[in-house]
Symmetry: C2
Subunit: 505 residues, 2 copies
C-alpha cells in the first residue's frame, strides 16, 4: 500500500480480511465489515444501495464478486479512526476496475461506511442487446431522422440477421432475413441508423422484462427494479442513451409498461395503422407497432415517418377525460400522478364509466390473445414447449388448451368491448394509468401487478386504439400516464404529449 | 443532501462550485478544487490518475464532462474538516452514474483529495469494436475451441457483413461478404464463436493503434497509453475479456506490438502457412495471419486449428539465442526484461551477429511494403487519398511515388536479408524484444519508437519466419519478449511460450 501518512493500526488487516471475504463470497464476514445502519453506501454500475440492509440483501443474491487481484492500493489517512482506501483491481476475466472505500473504526472495529466499485463493461450488455454496431445498419444518411439511432426489438426482421424473438431455440431455427421489416426499412429511409437488435421477453408474451434465457435488462431510472416488457431491451437501450428510438410492439401493454417503469415516452399505434410486415406475431388482432423515446419530440418525429397522414375525418377534440374507476385500478401514488398529467395544463372532465364488464373484457382479451398466440406459434412449439422459460411456457401451455369454441365466444365479448370503449372515448382523449404500479423490484412476485396492469392496458388493445405514454413521478420513481383516443388519432396524441412535456408559456 | 450528521460549514458551497465548474469545463476552478500534491486521486473507467499534475493534464485535454444532473447526494461527515460526498448523477445522454469524493478542508478551503467517477457504458466501445454480438456469429458449438470467442480484425471477411479495414470510406464501398475468410471459417468450425468485428488501424498500416476516425482503443494494462496496432481492437478486446482470441494480421509487427504493449501472448505465423483468403491485403510478401490471447494455452489451441501439421523435416532445437545488438535496439528496461524470458528457465546462447546491413534491410522492407501497399490499394485510393487520416495518408502518398525500379532493387536487398536471417536463426530460437519500448503515452510523438521497433520487427517479416510474443514486465508496464524460429516451427514456439508461462516444476 502507498500512503502519504501512516496507515492507522488494524486497517491493513481489516482490508485484507475484506478482500478474502469478497473472494470467498463470505457474506457474513462482508456484512460484518460493512457498517450497520441506514447510511452505509455501496454503489456500482447497477446503482447505489443505501443502508446495510439493502447491501446485505444484494450480497446474498449475487453469488459472489468476479475473481480479481489488487494492482495498486492507495490509502488516504484522515485520522487514526478514518481512512479512504482506493484500489485498482485486475479482473481474472480481463480488464481493470477500481474500488473506493471509506473505512471507519468503531466499537466493532474497522468497517466500510461507503464503497464505490467499478469493473470493466462487457463488450455488450447481453441483457439489453443481442447484436449492436456502430451502427449495425446505416440509414440513408438523409431525412427527418438523420442522426437518430434505433434499438430494434428482436421481433422485427433486419436484413442479413436472424430474428431471435427472445428465445435461443427460435433464433437457432430462424432464417437470415433477406429484407428489413416494413417499419425498420422506413426508419432507415428516413435517415435513422439501426444501432442494434434489442432483447425482448420471450415471444413478446410478458410485461415484466425478465427474459429467462438472457436476463433482466436494467432499469436505469429505478435501479434493482424491473424494466418492463416485452419491449424491454428497446426501452432500456433508450434509457441508457444507447439509442434514441426504441422500436417495439404492443399487444397487451408491451410499450406502455416499459415506458411507465422507465420514465419514457412511448406510443402504441392504432391497430393496423403501421404495417406489421416482417414482424413475428403474437396475437394479430391486438399486435401493434410502437416505439419509445426519451422526449416527446423524438416520439412525434418517428410518427411523422411511420404513421399514415392524419385523416381529417378522424379529427377529434382535445378534451381530456379522467375515469375514477380506472384511476382506482392503479396504486394511489400512480393514480395521483396521472391526475396531474393533463396535457397542456387543461382541466380534465371527470366521468363515471359503465365498466361493470371490465373483468369479462379482460378475460375475453386473454382468451383471444392465447388462441391467436397458439395459432401463431403452436406449430413450432408443439413438441418443444420445454425451450421456453417457465412463465411464458405456462402461458403457451394454457394457450394450447383454448378451444375454437372458447375463442369464438371470447371474440364476441371482445367485439362488444371494442364498440363500448370506442363509444366511451368518442372524439375525446382518455387519460389513464399506463400501468397499475411503478416498476416492481426484481425478484418480487409480479402476478398481481400484471393482473392489475392488464385491466388498464387491455382497453386500448381490445379497441385497437392508439395509446401514448408520458412519464410521471410517483414516490420518486417513474410511472406512466397514458393518453388514448379514437383510431387514427395517433398524431393528435403525440402532439398532446409534446405539450405536456413542454407546457406553453 | 441527505446526511447522518451535520454537513460541515462551507462544504455545500464548495460542492456546488465544483458542479458548476465541471459543467462549464472551468479547468482552473477544477484544478483549484482538487487538492495539490502527488497523492490526490481521480479514477474512472479509463484508469486511476495519481497526483494533481496528472489529473490536471487529463482535464485540460478531455474537453469537458458529459452533461448531467444530480439525482441523489449523500454526505458522510467525518469531522469538521473532512467529509465523503456520494452523488448519483443522471446523464443528459441517458443512464445514471455515480461520483464519490473525499473532501478535506485545508489552508485553501475545501478540496477533493480523491474522486471516483462512473458513467454508464456505451452500447459498445466504438474504439474497440465496429459490430459485436452475443455472439455475432455462432460457432459449430463443438470442437477444440468450443467456448472461445473471437474478436475478428476488420480486415477479414465475415459472411453477411462488410469489411471496414479501419476506414469509413472503405466500409461504405465494401460489398457484403458472401462467405467467411479462411481463418474465420476454420475458427467457427472448431467451435469458437465470433464475438464481433474489431477495429484496426487504417488499412493495417500503423503500429500505434490510434485510428484517426474511430479513436484509440484503451490499453487496460497501461492506462492512458497506446494499445499498439494495427491489430489494436482485437488486442484490446482480448485484454478486456470481451473475447478470448484476437484474430489479427502482422505485416511489420501488427500482432507483436499490441501484444507487447498490452501484455498479451501473440503469434505472427510463418508467411503463407495460414491462407490469407478473404483478407484485405497490405503487402502480400509480408502479410501473415496472427492472433492474440491472454494465455499461452489458448494461443497454442488456436494454432492446432489454423496451422498446418508440424513438419518433421523442419524440426529444430530449443536452443535460445540472445543477440546483444538486437537487445540494444530496445529501451534498457525492455531489454533487461527480455533477457529474463528464456523459455523453461534454460540458459541462452549469447551471440554477436553481423547486422551491419540492418538499416539497409529495414529500408528494403519499407520500400517493398510501400510498393506492394500501393499495388494493393492504389486503384481505390487514387483520387481519394483525403479519406485517410494524416499518418496513414502520408505513408500512401509516399507509396504512390515508389517506382518499379526502386521496388526491384529493394526486393534484391530483401532477398539477401531473408537468406541472412534464416541462416543466422538456423534451427535455433532467437529471443529478441517484440517492440523497442513499452506503450507510449497517448498523444506522444511515436515516430522514433516506430522506427526503433521496425528495426526489430522487420527481421521476421523479411525472413517470413514465425514470431511468438510473450508478456514481460518493464518498469511496472507490459513489454514483449519475442521468439523467432525457422519457417514452419510455429508450433515449437507456441510450446516454448507455454513453458515460459508455466515453468515445469
Amino acid at each position: 500500500m502507498s500512503a502519504p501518512t501512516p496507515v492507522p493500526a488494524g486497517l491493513v488487516e481489516a482490508f485484507r480480511d475484506y478482500e478474502r471475504a469478497l473472494m470467498e463470497d463470505d457474506v457474513p464476514a462482508l456484512d460484518r465489515l460493512f457498517a450497520p445502519g441506514p447510511t452505509t453506501l455501496r454503489g456500482d454500475a447497477q446503482g447505489l444501495l443505501v443502508g446495510h440492509e439493502a447491501i446485505s440483501a444484494f450480497r446474498g443474491s449475487r453469488g459472489g464478486a468476479p475473481r480479481r487481484r489488487l494492482v495498486q492500493t492507495h490509502v488516504q489517512t484522515i485520522d487514526e479512526d478514518h481512512a479512504l482506501v482506493v484500489a485498482v483491481t485486475e479482473l481474472e476475466r480481463g480488464g481493470r476496475g477500481q474500488q473506493t472505500q471509506l473505512w471507519a473504526r468503531g466499537p466493532d472495529g474497522w468497517q466500510v461506511t461507503a464503497a464505490h466499485v467499478s469493473v470493466p463493461a462487457p463488450a455488450l450488455d447481453t441483457r439489453v442487446w443481442r447484436v449492436v454496431g456502430d451502427p449495425l445498419v446505416p440509414g440513408s444518411g438523409d431525412g427527418p431522422l438523420a442522426g437518430q439511432s434505433v434499438a430494434v426489438k428482436d421481433l422485427y426482421a433486419v436484413a442479413g440477421h436472424r430474428t431471435g424473438a427472445g428465445n435461443p431455440a427460435w433464433l437457432a431455427t430462424s432464417p437470415t432475413a433477406g429484407e428489413h421489416a416494413h417499419a425498420v426499412a422506413r426508419l432507415l429511409e428516413a435517415g435513422a441508423d439501426v444501432r442494434g437488435i434489442a432483447r425482448t421477453d420471450e415471444l413478446a408474451w410478458s410485461l415484466a422484462g425478465a427474459n429467462h434465457h438472457t436476463g433482466t435488462p436494467p432499469n436505469p431510472r429505478a435501479p434493482y427494479r424491473l424494466p418492463g416488457g416485452s419491449s424491454s431491451g428497446s426501452a432500456t437501450a433508450v434509457s441508457l442513451g444507447h439509442a434514441t428510438i426504441g422500436l417495439g410492439t404492443d399487444t397487451g401493454g408491451s410499450i406502455r409498461v416499459p415506458a411507465a417503469y422507465q420514465g419514457l415516452f412511448g406510443i402504441r399505434t392504432t391497430h393496423s395503422a403501421v404495417p406489421v410486415d416482417g414482424l413475428v406475431p403474437l396475437a394479430p388482432s391486438y399486435d401493434a407497432v410502437g416505439w419509445l423515446a426519451r422526449d416527446a419530440a423524438t416520439l412525434a418525429a418517428v410518427g411523422e415517418v411511420l404513421l399514415p397522414p392524419a385523416d381529417e375525418d378522424r379529427a377529434g377534440t382535445d378534451e381530456v377525460v379522467l375515469v375514477p374507476q380506472l384511476l382506482r385500478l392503479a396504486e394511489p401514488a400512480v393514480a395521483a400522478a396521472v391526475r396531474t398529467a393533463v396535457p397542456g395544463g387543461r382541466r380534465a372532465t371527470v366521468e363515471q364509466w359503465p365498466l361493470g364488464d371490465l373483468d369479462r373484457w379482460l378475460d375475453a382479451f386473454r382468451t383471444v390473445q392465447a388462441w391467436e398466440a397458439w395459432q401463431s406459434h403452436g406449430a413450432w412449439l408443439e413438441g418443444r414447449l420445454d425451450v421456453l422459460g417457465p412463465d411464458v411456457r405456462g402461458r403457451f401451455e394454457h394457450a394450447r388448451t383454448v378451444t375454437d369454441g372458447q375463442a369464438d365466444a371470447a371474440r364476441a365479448v371482445a367485439r362488444g368491448a371494442r364498440a363500448a370503449v370506442r363509444s366511451l372515448v368518442g372524439r375525446r382523449v382518455l387519460l389513464l394509468p399506463a400501468a397499475s404500479s411503478v416498476a416492481p423490484r426484481v425478484g418480487d412476485d409480479v402476478a398481481a401487478t400484471r393482473e392489475a396492469t392488464l385491466r388498464l392496458t387491455c382497453l386500448a388493445g381490445l379497441a385497437g386504439l392508439p395509446a401514448v405514454t408520458m412519464p410521471v413521478q410517483a414516490g420518486g420513481l417513474p410511472a406512466g400516464a397514458c393518453l388514448v383516443a379514437a383510431a387514427g388519432r395517433d398524431q393528435d396524441l403525440l402532439r398532446l404529449a409534446a405539450e405536456t412535456q413542454a407546457p406553453r408559456p
